[in-house]
C-alpha cells in the first residue's frame, strides 16, 4: 500500500492557487451553456454584465461566487426577470422499457389545433409570475395530442417547451476543450476548422508538458497558445513566433482563466529575432545596448498590448462568439504575450525548443516549417496543423527529402458522437465530418 495521501494534502497546501478554481469570482472568464449546449456564451463576470436570453436581458450578478457547474433558471419577481440558482433533484431511475410502448403517430394530425392555450394566455401566466415548469404543465394539460404521443415524442415535446419557457443556464469553467468546442460550433473558420480532437492530438504529439519550451506559430486566434499554456501550468514557456514585425493576435487567451503565473509564461518573438543567432550586438557596448533594448522592449510591449485590447473590443462588437461585455466597467484580463527576454531567447538559441506546433492558416506549411524547424532541438517532436491536405503532403515530402525529420505521419482525426438511451442508442444523425489534418514528426540531426 503506497498511496500517499500526505503528498496530496501537502501539494494542496503548497499551491497558492488551485490549478482548477472551483468558484466563479468577479472578473473571471466563464462559459455559459444555455439549454444543454444549444448556445455557448463566453462572459467576463461583473455586476453589470448582462446576458440576453429570448427577448429578455438578465444580469449575471447572481453567478458571482457560485461554484462552477451550478445550474440557473429564469424566474420572474417584483422587479422583473432574473436568474436564480436551482439545486437539481436526484432523478429517479426510470428505466421502463420503451419497446413495450405500442403508441405511434397514426392519430397525430398536423392541423395546428392541438394546443388550446393561446399565446396571450401564456403571456398572462408569465406576468403573474408563473414558473416555467408551471407553464409547461399547463401546456401539456391543454394539449389534445400529448397523451396519444409515443413516449419518446412526449419527452421531446417537454424538452422543446422547457427550452422555450424555462431556459436553463449552466455555469462552466472555460478550458481549452470548451473554448475550442464553442468556437468550432460557431466560428470554425476563425480557428481554421481545428476541432477539439485535432487540438488534443497537437498537444499530445508535440509532447507538451510542464517545463517545456514550446514554440508555436498560432494563426488561429490564440487557441493553440492558450491550450499549450494550460498544459504548462505556469512553468516553461510558450513562445509565439511570427513573420515580419507584428505578432499574430492571440485574443482568445483572455477566455482562459489564467493566473498571472501562467500568463507570464506566454511570450512572443519574431522568427528573425529567434533565428538571427550570430547577429547579436557587438561585444563592446554590450551592456549599454542591453539597457537600451530593454527599454525599447517595454515600450513595444505596452503598445502591442494596447493594440491587442483594441482588437478584442472591436471583434466583440462585431459579435465574434457572444462575448458579453459588462456595461459599467470593463475588467481587463491580465496582459499576456510580452516580448521574450534576451536571456530566454539566448537560452533557446543554446538549447533549442523542446516542441513545436504550427497552426498557420493561409500559410504554406513548408515555407513556415523550413524557417522554424531549425529552432527546435534534435529529437524534439513537432506538429503542423492545416485545414488542407495537399500543402501538408508537400511539406512532408520535402522534410523526407531533406532528411530533416523522422517518424513523419499525416493523420486526420475522426469524431462521432452517440445518443445513448435505453433501446435507443445510435450515432448522432448529424456529425462534423472534418476537423483538420495533422502532420507530425521528430526533428533529427542531419549530420
Amino acid at each position: 500500500m503506497e498511496l500517499n495521501k500526505d503528498q496530496t494534502v501537502m501539494s494542496e497546501d503548497k499551491k497558492p492557487q488551485d490549478p482548477n478554481p472551483r468558484f466563479a469570482c468577479e472578473g473571471c472568464s466563464v462559459l455559459l451553456d444555455v439549454n444543454d449546449g444549444d448556445r455557448l456564451v463566453f462572459a467576463r463576470l461583473s455586476g453589470g454584465a448582462i446576458l440576453k436570453i429570448g427577448n429578455k436581458n438578465y444580469s449575471l450578478k447572481p453567478l458571482i461566487g457560485a461554484p462552477f457547474g451550478s445550474l440557473f433558471q429564469v424566474e420572474t419577481g417584483e422587479d422583473g426577470s432574473f436568474l436564480s440558482r436551482i439545486l437539481p433533484i436526484k432523478q429517479e431511475n426510470s428505466s421502463n422499457n420503451v419497446m413495450d410502448d405500442s403508441r405511434d403517430n397514426r392519430e397525430i394530425v398536423d392541423n395546428n389545433e392541438a394546443q388550446n392555450l393561446t399565446g396571450e394566455e401564456i403571456e398572462a401566466m408569465r406576468r403573474e409570475g408563473a414558473k416555467g415548469d408551471e407553464i409547461i404543465e399547463a401546456l401539456i394539460a391543454n394539449s389534445k395530442t400529448f397523451d396519444k404521443k409515443f413516449q419518446l415524442s412526449q419527452e421531446k415535446y417537454k424538452l422543446k417547451k422547457q427550452k422555450k419557457y424555462a431556459p436553463k443556464l449552466l455555469l462552466r469553467r472555460p478550458f481549452a476543450r470548451s473554448i475550442c468546442e464553442a468556437y468550432f460550433k460557431k466560428y470554425p473558420a476563425r480557428i481554421g476548422f481545428l476541432r477539439v480532437d485535432a487540438l488534443s492530438l497537437l498537444l499530445t504529439m508535440a509532447n507538451v508538458t510542464a517545463y517545456s519550451d514550446v514554440l508555436v506559430v498560432d494563426m488561429v486566434g490564440g487557441l493553440v497558445t492558450g491550450a499549450v499554456a494550460e498544459r504548462l501550468g505556469g512553468t516553461g514557456y510558450v513562445c509565439n513566433t511570427y513573420k515580419g514585425s507584428s505578432p499574430y493576435p492571440v485574443e482568445m487567451v483572455r477566455m482562459f482563466n489564467f493566473s498571472d503565473k501562467v500568463l507570464e509564461r506566454i511570450v512572443q518573438s519574431s522568427i528573425n529575432e529567434l533565428s538571427s543567432a550570430n547577429t547579436a550586438s557587438p561585444e563592446g557596448n554590450n551592456q549599454q545596448e542591453g539597457v537600451c533594448n530593454a527599454e525599447n522592449n517595454i515600450n513595444e510591449t505596452s503598445s502591442t498590448s494596447d493594440i491587442m485590447v483594441e482588437e478584442i473590443s472591436a471583434t466583440t462588437e462585431a459579435g465574434v462568439v457572444d462575448i458579453v461585455v459588462p456595461e459599467s466597467k470593463v475588467i481587463k484580463a491580465a496582459k499576456s504575450g510580452a516580448k521574450a527576454s534576451k536571456e530566454t531567447i539566448e537560452m533557446w538559441r543554446e538549447n533549442g525548443f523542446s516542441s513545436l506546433i504550427i497552426a498557420a492558416q493561409d500559410q504554406d506549411p513548408w515555407s513556415v516549417a523550413k524557417d522554424v524547424l531549425p529552432l527546435l532541438s534534435y529529437s524534439a517532436p513537432f506538429v503542423i496543423y492545416h485545414q488542407y491536405l495537399q500543402p501538408l503532403a508537400t511539406c512532408m515530402h520535402k522534410l523526407q527529402q531533406g532528411k530533416m525529420a523522422i517518424n513523419l505521419q499525416i493523420t486526420e482525426p475522426w469524431l462521432r458522437e452517440y445518443q445513448v438511451l435505453p433501446s435507443r442508442s445510435h450515432p448522432h444523425m448529424q456529425m462534423s465530418s472534418f476537423g483538420g489534418y495533422v502532420l507530425s514528426g521528430i526533428r533529427i540531426s542531419t549530420t
Binding site: 501539494s11 490549478p19 437539481p88 509532447n207 538549447n351 491536405l389 495537399q390 515530402h397 458522437e417 438511451l421
Partner: protein, 318 residues
C-alpha cells in the same frame, strides 16, 4: 521521461549518459527502448552497436553499427513509449489518449484516478498532464500487472507522479481516503457501472469522469447508472485516418490534339515508366507531358474501432 522540477527540464542538447533510457529508431514501425550502459551492446539485423559509442552524443543523432548501418537514438516520450511498451493488455492508442486527457480537463496539479492500470499506456500520458505537482493514482486487480507497471514507471522515471495499487475497483470501489480529492476519474473496466457510485464519491464537485468500453451494451448500462449523479453525459468514438504520401508521375498529355507519337501509349503509365528506365532521353522528352506530383491518399487499412468514450460531469449539489 517527464520533468518534475525545472532543473530536470527537457534539454535535448543534453548528451546521452550511462543509464539513460533511449528509444532506438530503425523505422517508423521498428523501435525499441534501450537502457544505455557503458558495456552494453545492441544487436539487430544491421549488426552490432556498442553503447559506449552512444555516450556523449546528442539525442536525435545517427549511430552506426559495425557494418556501417545506422539507427537513430531518440528521447523517450509517452507517444514513443506507447509504441514500444510490452502489451500486457489491450492498450489505449494515441487518438483515445489525447481525447481523454483533454476532455477530462487534466492540467498540471490535478489528481487523477484510473482503473485498471493495464499496460500503463494512458497512465504515462496522464502523468505528463498532471506534472509537476499533481498525481495519478492507478488501480489494477491483477497483482503481476501492477508490479510490471510499477517497474515500467520506474524505468521511464515517472514513478514520483504515478502510484499503482492492487485493488478490485468494481468490487471494492476506490479507497475511502481519496474521497472528494479527485479532479477526474478514468474507468477502463469490464463492468464500469459497478464502479460509478464510488467514482462519484471520489470526485470533487464538477469533476469529470470518463469510461472507456469496447461494447455499446457496456456503455448503455454505464449511462443508466451515470444519470443519477452526473450531468453532461456524452459518448464519443474517436479514430484516426493516416495518409500515404508519394511522389507520383502523372501523365498530363491530352487524349486528342497534340500530334506526339507517344500519345496513344501515354495512358499506360507502366509502359511509359518501363521505357523511361531504358532510355533517359525519352523520359526527358516526355517531361512536358508526365510531371511528378506529390500526392496523398488514405492508407488502405486502419483501426476501425477501439472503444466508446463516455464522459460525464459530477452534478453540483453544494
Amino acid at each position: 521521461m517527464l520533468p518534475t522540477e525545472s532543473k530536470k527540464a527537457f534539454s535535448f542538447k543534453r548528451c546521452i549518459e550511462d543509464g539513460d533510457l533511449v528509444i532506438v529508431y530503425e523505422r517508423h514501425d521498428v523501435m525499441k527502448p534501450v537502457k544505455v550502459s557503458k558495456d552494453g551492446v545492441l544487436q539487430n539485423r544491421f549488426g552490432v552497436y556498442k553503447h559506449s559509442d552512444w555516450i556523449g552524443k546528442p539525442l536525435g543523432t545517427k549511430v552506426f553499427s559495425n557494418k556501417g548501418k545506422f539507427v537513430y537514438l531518440l528521447a523517450p516520450t509517452p507517444e514513443l513509449w506507447t509504441l514500444v511498451l510490452s502489451h500486457r493488455t489491450q492498450i489505449l492508442y494515441i487518438a483515445d489518449i489525447s481525447f481523454v486527457v483533454m476532455y477530462l480537463e487534466v492540467v498540471p496539479g490535478c489528481v487523477v484516478l484510473e482503473s485498471g492500470t493495464g499496460s500503463g499506456s494512458l497512465s504515462t500520458s496522464l502523468a505528463r498532464a498532471v506534472a509537476p505537482t499533481g498525481h495519478v493514482y492507478s488501480f489494477d486487480f491483477h497483482e503481476q500487472r501492477a508490479v510490471s507497471a510499477r517497474e515500467d514507471f520506474e524505468k521511464t522515471g515517472i514513478s514520483s507522479l504515478v502510484t499503482v495499487e492492487v485493488r478490485d475497483i468494481q468490487g471494492e470501489g476506490f479507497p475511502e481516503k481519496l474521497s472528494g480529492l479527485a479532479d477526474s476519474v478514468f474507468l477502463d473496466l469490464p463492468q464500469p457501472w459497478l464502479a460509478v457510485p464510488s467514482a462519484a464519491k471520489m470526485l470533487k464537485q464538477d469533476g469529470v469522469l470518463c469510461s472507456f468500453s469496447p461494447c455499446i451494451e457496456q456503455v448503455q448500462r454505464t449511462c443508466e447508472v451515470l444519470r443519477s449523479d452526473f450531468i453532461e453525459i456524452r459518448t464519443f468514438e474517436v479514430l484516426l485516418r493516416t495518409y500515404e504520401v508519394k511522389e507520383v508521375k502523372m501523365d498530363t498529355s491530352s487524349m486528342v490534339g497534340e500530334s506526339h507519337e507517344e500519345d496513344n501509349e501515354g495512358m499506360r503509365p507502366c509502359k511509359r515508366k518501363h521505357r523511361s528506365n531504358e532510355n533517359d532521353t525519352v523520359s526527358q522528352d516526355n517531361s512536358s507531358n508526365a510531371s511528378s506530383v506529390v500526392m496523398a491518399r488514405p492508407c488502405s487499412e486502419a483501426r476501425g474501432h477501439t472503444g466508446y468514450l463516455t464522459f460525464a460531469r459530477l452534478q453540483c449539489l453544494a
